[in-house]
């Protein structure tokens, strides 16, 4: 090519990044990557090996070691052994190691970036300018988190050993998101990188060594899905953190149910990208390049559902198609490439299949006209318009460079379309109208919302989803709670508390008072038509309560769903109503104390204490209602990331069997304070304190449907609740040992669970039974990124 010819075409030409040093690094390992266990990289003999390929050309880069269960045992053991000492070092000492890791990531930044691109196929621009800098940033941020831990969170401690499984789309970045907060908080980790993309993890192991990280703090086991399966179910693990597909996340939820492990899941998504007619359309078009063609669309939070306001849709789509036509696809090592290679032929096949199948239902396809390289895994950037919610393409995560879209008429319709999905990870909202932007962001079900921007990430802001996009946050203060627990976490076993026996005597001259269920603000007869007698310690019939069943639960959930306006009411109003509940309960103090005493035989003093504590607890959460604030995170943009606390939604609560009033109030009040609506199953042996509350609710201005009470045998309704798709979180404090069953059944819609794991909480101990932990369980943190500047 001559200068003169280039002047005619004005081509960019090639600008390849050199692979030389990365290939030298691979050669140094004799193209055989080991496991990183207890501080040394080892290639044990007799293990299967996996090929790690460069998806851009199909060449084999190296062989990976398929860890077996013995290797995983050793890794977990090493982590277990290292953990007490690592935690014991204290935050400031751990901070120094994290700081060293951050510095070393920067020192080796180009090698990491090149290796990542060779292994994963993402454009070198992205690994160089986005992934690796975010990795360093994550370690810096969490060095700070470690530094401040004892001072800022004196009542918290590490969970122990964490098992982490990460995906192939951001191999090193996901490793950093997992490892940095975990070790900052004093945990040790065993991490499994994805089988397609393990190379940068091995380089990171060398960096750990270079940083002088104590042996066993970070361990890496490579291999296919079987390794992950063994790791997450390993009995030596205290917590599982997983990023990957919803399908695998669901399996993990089921597999570890009842193992008393903490769990956070960051799963799939089908995130909406909403363009209003007053948006800067050109910028919104450009945003889509970062939303859906970033990393070939293999991004869990990719803006993959495009909703454009009808009046500008034609213009917008025209601009978008023109922009697509300019995208450059090809060798990811070329610095002028926008879209690189799909990670693996199997993924390419999956994208192709979903698109071709989906198009059978309709839709208008536009494909970027650029020639694809003749070898390697490439898929052209694709836009499919006229795709409606009834199409599979609008519902299924494609995880490729494929954008599907439709139009909307009004802001309300945009929200409805956006939320018409099983997922809830991220959202992008484009409008020049601040009123509109800040109205829509809270209404879209997601963990991250970007105003006039997309795919913004920073260690200071939490990231994570709702619904089937998983639960838990990574990054920000909210993300630290995924790796710590209260020092007051209960440890005593909870014995089963059985209903007292007795004999049904004739009611006699007293007027019969049969407690029904409380659903939608009204007392309702149980569907079953059965009642359960409740006896006093002397065996005397106190009352009969309705025996709730799955249909009653269904009705209660319906009522709770209909009452969601509670979450949009002001915190002041919720506080007032909680105070009012306390006030009305106080007026009937003696009656409630008598009831507790008669059911449990705890004696008048204890019963009175329980009532007083309950009133106090209502006041506490009334106080918290307008004080459990979010945060304005200092993210590195001209703008702000608002971490807003939102209600979880509908919470199913199976109450403690002991402390029939205080237990119920202790778990219900924080849920109400944060704006949730609740389906409550009271203490099974002592349900009358709950049914006595109906009149308190009715006289306290509590809107109908906000609290629904279904007296029932816990084992009759636990699975119904945990499996109910409309319930967003299920709590369990009963004594019937149903934690495992609930965790397992929750996998259906991947609702959050909070279960007692058979441990006994002292409801009178405010350290254990009240406070921010309860508020965190009752809230979701949504980070709303608001860039500004005119």
């Amino acid at each position: 090519m001559k200068v003169k010819e280039i002047l005619e075409t004005m081509d960019y030409g090639k600008a390849p990044e050199s692979a030389e040093q990365a290939m030298e690094w691979i050669a140094k390992h004799s193209k055989k990557m080991g496991l990183y266990i207890n501080g040394s990289i080892e290639c044990p003999g007799g293990r299967d090996s996996l090929e790690s390929r460069n998806p851009a050309n199909g060449e084999i880069l190296a062989q990976l070691c398929q860890a077996n269960s013995e290797d995983i045992d050793r890794a977990v053991e090493a982590a277990r052994k290292a953990q007490p000492k690592w935690e014991g070092l204290g935050g400031p000492a751990r901070a120094k190691y994290l700081y060293a890791l951050a510095r070393l990531v920067q020192k080796h930044s180009r090698l990491l970036a090149v290796l990542e691109t060779l292994d994963n196929g993402k454009p070198i621009r992205e690994s160089r300018d986005i992934d690796v800098p975010l990795v360093a940033r994550h370690f810096y941020y969490h060095a700070g988190a470690a530094q401040l831990m004892e001072k800022e969170m004196p009542d918290q401690r590490a969970l122990g050993v964490v098992g982490q499984v990460i995906p192939w789309n951001f191999p090193l970045l996901m490793l950093a998101w997992k490892i940095a907060p975990a070790i900052a908080m004093g945990n040790t980790v065993v991490l499994k990188p994805a089988e397609y993309t393990s190379l940068s993890a091995i380089l990171f192991a060398e960096i750990c060594h270079e940083a002088g990280l104590p042996n066993g703090v970070v361990n890496l086991v490579t291999g296919d899905g079987r390794v992950g399966e063994i790791l997450v179910t390993h009995e030596g693990i205290d917590k599982v953190a997983f990023t990957g597909s919803t399908e695998v996340g669901r399996k993990i939820r089921q597999a570890i149910a009842g193992q008393e492990k903490e769990l956070t899941l960051e799963l799939g998504g089908k995130s909406p990208y909403i363009v209003f007619d007053d948006a800067d359309l050109d910028s919104a078009v450009e945003g889509l390049v970062d939303a859906i063609w970033f990393n070939q669309g293999q991004v869990c939070c990719a803006g993959s559902r495009l909703f454009v306001q009808e009046g500008v849709a034609e213009t917008f789509h025209r601009k978008l198609r023109a922009r697509m036509d300019k995208l450059r696809i090809g060798d990811p090592m070329d610095k002028s490439i926008d879209v690189g290679a799909i990670v693996d032929p199997s993924q390419l096949e999956s994208i192709t299949r979903i698109v071709e199948d989906g198009l059978k239902e309709g839709g208008v396809r536009h494909t970027c006209p650029a020639d694809l390289p003749e070898v390697g895994c490439f898929y052209p950037p694709t836009l499919i318009t006229e795709v409606d919610p009834a199409c599979q393409l609008m519902q299924d995560e494609i995880f490729g460079p494929v954008l599907v879209g439709t139009t909307f008429r009004t802001p309300a319709e945009a929200v409805a379309l956006a939320n018409n999905t099983r997922y809830g990870l991220a959202a992008s909202i484009w409008t020049e109208n601040i009123n509109l932007a800040l109205d829509i962001a809270p209404k879209v079900i997601c963990g991250v919302a970007w105003i006039n921007s997309t795919n913004q990430f920073d260690a200071a802001a939490g990231f994570g989803g709702r619904r089937e996009s998983g639960f838990g946050r990574e990054g920000g203060r909210e993300g630290l709670f995924a790796y710590i627990r209260s020092k007051n976490t209960p440890t005593h076993e909870l014995a089963e508390i059985k209903a007292l026996p007795g004999k049904s005597e004739p009611v006699g001259t007293e007027i019969d008072r049969t407690a029904k269920l409380f659903i939608g603000g009204k007392q309702a007869r149980p569907d079953s038509g059965y009642s359960t007698p409740v006896f006093s310690t002397e065996g005397k019939l106190l009352a009969q309560v309705g025996q709730g069943n799955r249909k009653d639960i269904r009705n209660a959930v319906e009522a709770a769903t209909g009452a969601k306006g509670w979450g949009k009411s002001t915190a002041h109003l919720r506080a007032q109503i909680l105070y009012y509940l306390g006030e009305n309960l106080s007026a009937r103090k003696n009656e409630f104390a008598d009831r507790i005493d008669s059911m449990t035989g705890c004696g008048q003093d204890k019963a009175k204490l329980e009532v007083n504590s309950s009133i106090d607890r209502l006041f506490t959460y009334a106080a918290w209602a307008d004080k459990y604030d979010g945060a304005a995170h200092g993210v590195p943009i001209r703008g702000v990331a608002l971490a807003m606390n939102e209600p979880v939604g509908v919470i199913g609560i199976i109450c403690p069997d002991e402390s029939p009033l205080l237990g119920l109030i202790s778990v219900l009040a924080p849920a109400l304070a944060m704006g949730n609506t609740c389906v409550v199953v009271p203490s099974e042996p002592f349900p009358l304190s709950a049914t006595d509350l109906y009149q308190v609710f009715e006289t306290s201005d509590l809107p109908a449907g906000v609290v629904n009470l279904v007296t029932a045998r816990h084992s009759d309704v636990a699975e119904t609740l945990a499996g109910h798709m409309e319930i967003d979180a299920q709590w369990y404090f009963g004594s019937g040992g149903l934690s495992s069953l609930i965790e397992k059944a929750s996998a259906g819609n991947l609702k959050r669970t909070w279960v007692n794991q058979g441990k006994s909480i002292d409801w009178n101990d405010s350290q254990q039974a009240e406070g921010k932990m309860f508020l965190r369980q009752a809230t979701e943190v949504k980070n709303i990124w608001i860039p500004y500047g005119e």
Binding site: M10, S283, K335, S336, E790
Partner: protein, 329 residues
């Protein structure tokens, strides 16, 4: 792309001029410009496009062909202007061009840009070269001299032989949102230019917001501007990538709707060869290759050429160059 001329480095003026259109306020006022998003695009662009080696050399020659080599100083004299014109005709040492297999006579700048008083000197110095003379006009840089005099200034420069007139708009019309006045003023300037091409200098650094920049761009095109230009070089903020992106997106929309090509000229503050490459790639990405011709794209610059010469010498010799090895203008 179909080059308009067999020599892609020569200004061709082969397109039909933008005749303007009736003022369409609904359109102009619907224009939005989100500053943060625009800045983000500009920030990532240099990382998205990398132009190296021989491609870079070609692109830098292209940049030279798009330079409005400029002197706008109170102490300009005829001789100084002649020196600049000579540089414009021979912007790069011929041995360097020969090594690139480029005929030296095909390489020249886009125009010479001067004040009215220097137009005649420039025209005579450039005679036969085909390089047009551009005159800054209408009370440049502030544009606050009497309206009739501003119109007269245009006519006089055209009479003196200027083929391009760089007018300054009345910023106050933008700042007070008096779009009709801006439109009328621009239209009158355009008429006064006759056959000379008119570049509308928006003085973007004084317009306050990108939204204003976008709307003023649109109004000036509706009133018949052949080019829209960022700045006089006298404002505290001159050409920037975000401002450029904002303006060229309006050019794109205007072209899409009317079919007319309007040129773009960033001026002031572009002094590095690398910056010129970023600007060219921005134009290529957002407007397309047709705009990479001097009839639709110019750099208003005085020191950019020197840096490009050094880069070109580095390209052919492999050694970093020095200022004194290249002729001053």
């Amino acid at each position: 792309m179909t080059p308009s001329n067999s020599n892609p480095l020569v200004n061709s003026h082969s397109l039909e001029r933008n005749p303007g259109m009736d003022l369409d306020l609904d359109w102009a006022l619907s224009v939005q410009a989100n500053t943060s998003a625009i800045e983000r695009r500009c920030k990532t662009l240099p990382g998205r496009r990398s132009i190296k080696k021989i491609n870079q050399a070609a692109w830098l020659l292209k940049a030279i062909s798009c330079i409005d080599l400029t002197t706008l100083s109170g102490d300009d004299t005829k001789e100084r202007v002649r020196r600049l014109c000579r540089k414009g005709k021979f912007p790069v040492r011929s041995d360097i061009l020969n090594q690139m297999e480029i005929e030296p006579e095909t390489v020249r700048v886009g125009a010479i840009c001067v004040y009215h008083e220097m137009v005649e000197a420039a025209v005579s110095a450039l005679e036969g070269s085909g390089i047009p003379v551009a005159a800054v006009s209408t009370g440049f840089p502030a544009g606050l001299s009497p309206y009739s005099l501003r119109l007269a200034e245009i006519s006089e420069s055209v009479q003196a032989g200027a083929q391009e007139i760089d007018i300054v708009i009345s910023r106050r019309h933008v700042l007070t949102q008096n779009w009709q006045a801006l439109y009328d003023e621009m239209k009158a300037f355009r008429e006064a230019c006759g056959d000379a091409h008119v570049k509308a200098i928006l003085a973007t650094g004084e317009l306050g917001t990108l939204r204003n920049v976008a709307r003023a761009s649109m109004i000036c095109m509706m009133a018949g501007a052949d080019f829209i230009k960022t700045s006089t070089g006298k404002e505290s903020v001159n050409a920037t990538l975000p401002i450029s992106l904002t303006m060229i997106r309006q050019i794109r929309d205007y072209h899409e709707k009317t079919g007319y090509h309007v040129g773009y000229k960033p001026a002031g503050g572009i002094s590095k060869a690398k910056d010129s490459l970023i600007y060219l790639s921005l134009i290529k990405e957002e407007l397309g290759d047709r705009w990479l011709q001097p009839d639709l794209f110019r750099f208003g610059a005085s020191s950019l050429l020197g840096d490009i010469e050094r880069q070109l010498e580095h390209f052919v010799t492999g050694h970093y160059s020095a200022n004194h090895r290249h002729a001053m203008g």
